[in-house]
């Protein structure tokens, strides 16, 4: 990632840069998620799963040297300087970030991206009766999913896939549709490398990638709104059923089903603190979280000055809603 773009994750108030790093990387601890929520960066969770800490830190130093960022080593925070805020504004750096893609609704963008590209490659090659070719992605998981998807639709007319793709791409903003289309490739359409696409658009490859993620997000939004209109695409690009990881989702279900804290603890045999973290995650990530639920209230009353009660109060008050 380019250092300048990183500037868009900071503000005139101090922010914990480690929380931003771990958030972009995709570490779902409660304190990271709380920080990201406070900073309005929650949807960018897991955007850069391969981000290296040394590079991230080198970029912060670069931004500091440019006079755009002030770093407080002891508090481990960074703050935009006036010059930094002006630069951010003038260059409209925030606009480059993929606003349309929300990790919690759409899941790992890399997986969705690979599914889409592999799906197009497989159908196109089949269409042209190409038997032997190397799949676009090495991911075994995505390849297996594709096999299952292929088998499920094997009796269908594959021209339906083309129609779905054509319709959905034409409903996106023009630049997004064109960008996605030109990112496809198969034996009958070699496509363009990202380097070449970036060069044509006079962008860096980093900015191009963010634009691709954003376009993918726009497409997924369409699928989410009217899934029945795109049966093939919807099953190719499945959306997560819950933003919560499995174990946390289970805890949350127990809460919703009206179980008391004692019942939850006895059934799960997991440390109480872990279970509380599950509930906090749910409170952060699920907009309809029932703050008035008796079990939640009970936990807050047990230890009103504790971490759990404090976070719940903050989340409920919307004090951190950016």
């Amino acid at each position: 990632m380019a250092a300048e773009l990183l500037l868009a994750t900071f503000a005139a108030t101090p922010r914990r840069y480690k929380a931003i790093f771990y958030g972009l990387l995709g570490k779902d601890t409660v304190s990271n998620l709380l920080a990201l929520r406070e900073y309005g960066l929650l949807s960018y969770f897991h955007l850069y799963p391969k981000l290296s800490q040394s590079k991230f830190q080198a970029q912060l130093v670069k931004l500091q040297q440019a006079g755009w960022l002030q770093i407080d080593q002891t508090a481990a925070t960074a703050t935009l300087t006036t010059a930094g805020a002006q630069f951010l504004q003038a260059q409209q750096l925030t606009d480059y970030w993929p606003h349309a893609y929300d990790y919690w609704q759409f899941g790992d963008w890399q997986l969705q991206w690979q599914r889409l590209l592999l799906g197009v490659q497989v159908v196109s090659n089949r269409w042209h009766q190409v038997q032997q070719y190397q799949p676009l992605t090495e991911s075994f998981q995505v390849q297996q999913e594709l096999h299952a998807w292929w088998r499920y639709w094997s009796q269908q007319d594959w021209s339906q896939f083309k129609i779905e793709l054509q319709t959905i791409l034409s409903q996106l903003p023009e630049s997004a549709g064109i960008l996605l289309a030109n990112s496809f490739s198969s034996n009958s359409f070699p496509g363009l490398t990202s380097q070449h696409l970036a060069q044509i658009q006079q962008q860096s490859t980093t900015v191009l990638q963010l634009a691709q993620i954003n376009s993918l997000g726009l497409l997924l939004q369409q699928l989410q709104q009217t899934p029945q209109q795109w049966p093939m695409l919807t099953s190719l690009l499945p959306l997560p059923k819950s933003p919560l990881p499995r174990s946390a989702a289970q805890t949350y279900q127990q809460l919703l089903s009206g179980q008391t804290w004692l019942q939850i603890v006895q059934q799960r045999r997991i440390k109480e603190n872990t279970l509380k973290e599950h509930l906090l995650m749910a409170a952060i990530l699920i907009p309809t979280f029932p703050f008035q639920n008796p079990t939640i209230q009970q936990l807050c009353h047990q230890d009103p000055a504790g971490f759990f009660a404090g976070r719940i109060a903050q989340l409920q008050g919307g004090a951190f809603n950016a």
């Binding site: 040394s54 032997q132 676009l136 992605t137 998981q141 791409l169 496809f184 198969s186 490398t193």
Partner: protein, 480 residues
């Protein structure tokens, strides 16, 4: 026997004849002998285990270092219907892995990464089935003398002893006498192991040494070379340099240029390989990440814009040219300041004993190490070798690399036939080279422009830069 083998080759694979070495190795394997095969890339090493499959009862286990190599080989076996194939690599979920391991007896071929093979669960599953053949692909990775040394390969000898395969076959394209000895020794292969070693000499490669004395010499000569208009691979030292040079070249030519390095996404690397293979890309500027598993047969020109790390890397990298057997040109730019810069880079990358010990004591402490150093240490950590041994191996490796680099520098500064020197350095029984005008030359003997005029390199029609297409055009190309 050989004529029976040839009949079978024609019937099952549709080839008229064996490539050099194949019949020898197959005869040995079918007679129940272990074998080491040193055969040039693109000479059908995988045919060896595909061929013997129906002759052996039990599983054929292939250890391979790269996921892309594994999936490529697996796909070839599947499409040729030679047997059922499974691939085990680190990208599988535990559930997927267990599924494969439970049904292991139903497979004829199992491809596995060396790291995965260390797992007790994997070894136990293999021990439950009959293991007919243990294949170590890219076996030179086992040797710290080799250019692609991988710590995880060091444990394969032990694994082999535990799994007790009926037969073992080690395959590689690059093996100096030292690497060869390491393969035999580390895999603990018996003295009577059969072997075939092709000479490194490739008569269709013209070797050119281009001495650089001024800063802009490189660019001037590079321009003359890319004006040839033939499929070109340019090796540079760093990722940054790959990107910078590709961007510079894009301004100097109408041909499509791309940069390639380990930092690019899998999809991007895949696409560059595909476009390059289909001649939609004319020039690729790459670090040494462009390597194993990529086979572009009509590559006519390989340029070392920066110095390769050593002799071994040089041989491997020029070997990517002219695999179709037609004349290809390899050019290396020799610049003393590059040599000094390279020395500095190596020095900066060297790990001290203290850093190694610190890493093993506190793996989360990044110290002041860069990503590639951490990568090396992480690779060793995975082998679970004791720290003292890791330190010793790393020290030994860096000494070896320094020796290899010196030997290479000597080669680059000599005035005798380059091909003869190459054979003398790499071959067990070096042939005597008859130097002629199709063999090699240096800038002192003949100007580059004179050379380029007389070399009849076959041109390839290169596609122009493709513009951005409309959605409708793309979909028509994809689905109509």
């Amino acid at each position: 026997m050989p004529s029976q083998l040839t009949d079978e080759l024609q019937q099952r694979f549709g080839f008229q004849q064996f490539r050099p070495g194949q019949a020898e190795i197959l005869t040995a394997l079918l007679a129940g002998r272990d074998a080491i095969a040193v055969l040039p890339t693109g000479s059908g090493k995988s045919l060896l285990y595909q061929f013997v499959a129906p002759h052996l009862t039990g599983l054929i286990l292939v250890v391979s270092p790269l996921i892309s190599l594994m999936s490529d080989q697996a796909m070839r076996i599947r499409t040729a219907h030679i047997g059922s194939v499974a691939v085990l690599n680190s990208q599988l979920t535990p559930v997927e892995k267990n599924q494969i391991l439970r049904r292991l007896s139903q497979y004829k071929f199992l491809f596995v990464a060396p790291e995965t093979l260390q797992q007790p669960q994997v070894q136990q599953a293999i021990q439950r089935v009959q293991l007919a053949l243990f294949v170590v692909d890219e076996a030179h990775c086992i040797s710290s003398w080799g250019p692609d040394f991988r710590p995880s390969y060091l444990l394969l000898g032990q694994v082999r002893q535990q799994l007790k395969p009926a037969l073992t076959l080690a395959l590689t394209a690059t093996a100096t006498p030292k690497v060869f000895r390491d393969i035999q020794h580390e895999l603990m292969l018996p003295a009577q192991t059969a072997h075939y070693r092709a000479s490194v000499n490739r008569s269709n490669l013209f070797l050119r040494l281009e001495r650089i004395s001024h800063a802009d010499d490189k660019q001037v000569r590079l321009q003359a070379l890319i004006d040839l208009g033939v499929p070109t691979l340019i090796y540079v030292a760093t990722r940054h340099q790959a990107q910078a040079l590709a961007q510079y070249l894009q301004l100097k030519t109408n041909r499509q240029v791309a940069y390639y390095h380990g930092g690019l996404s899998g999809i991007e690397r895949y696409r560059i390989q595909q476009l390059f293979l289909q001649d939609q890309l004319g020039i690729v500027v790459a670090t040494n990440a462009f390597g194993m598993g990529i086979d572009k047969s009509n590559l006519r020109l390989v340029i070392h814009y920066d110095l390769p790390a050593n002799f071994e890397n040089y041989l491997q990298e020029i070997g990517r040219a002219g695999r179709d057997g037609q004349l290809a040109l390899t050019v290396i730019f020799v610049d003393e300041t590059d040599f000094a810069k390279q020395g500095q880079r190596i020095k900066n990358g060297q790990l001290t004993t203290i850093e190694i010990q610190n890493f093993f004591a506190h793996p989360d402490d990044r110290q002041e190490l860069n990503d590639s150093q951490l990568g090396v240490l992480a690779a060793y950590a995975q082998t679970q070798l004791p720290v003292a041994q890791v330190t010793a191996i790393l020290q030994q490796t860096s000494q070896l690399r320094a020796q290899q680099r010196q030997a290479f520098w000597q080669f680059l500064n000599s005035r005798t036939c380059l091909r003869q020197q190459l054979c003398d350095y790499f071959d067990a029984k070096p042939p005597e080279i008859h130097h002629d005008q199709w063999c090699c030359s240096q800038s002192e003997d003949e100007s580059l422009s004179a050379l380029l005029q007389r070399l009849p390199l076959v041109e390839t029609a290169a596609a122009d830069q493709a513009p951005l297409q409309s959605v409708a055009t793309v979909l028509t190309a994809l689905f109509d």
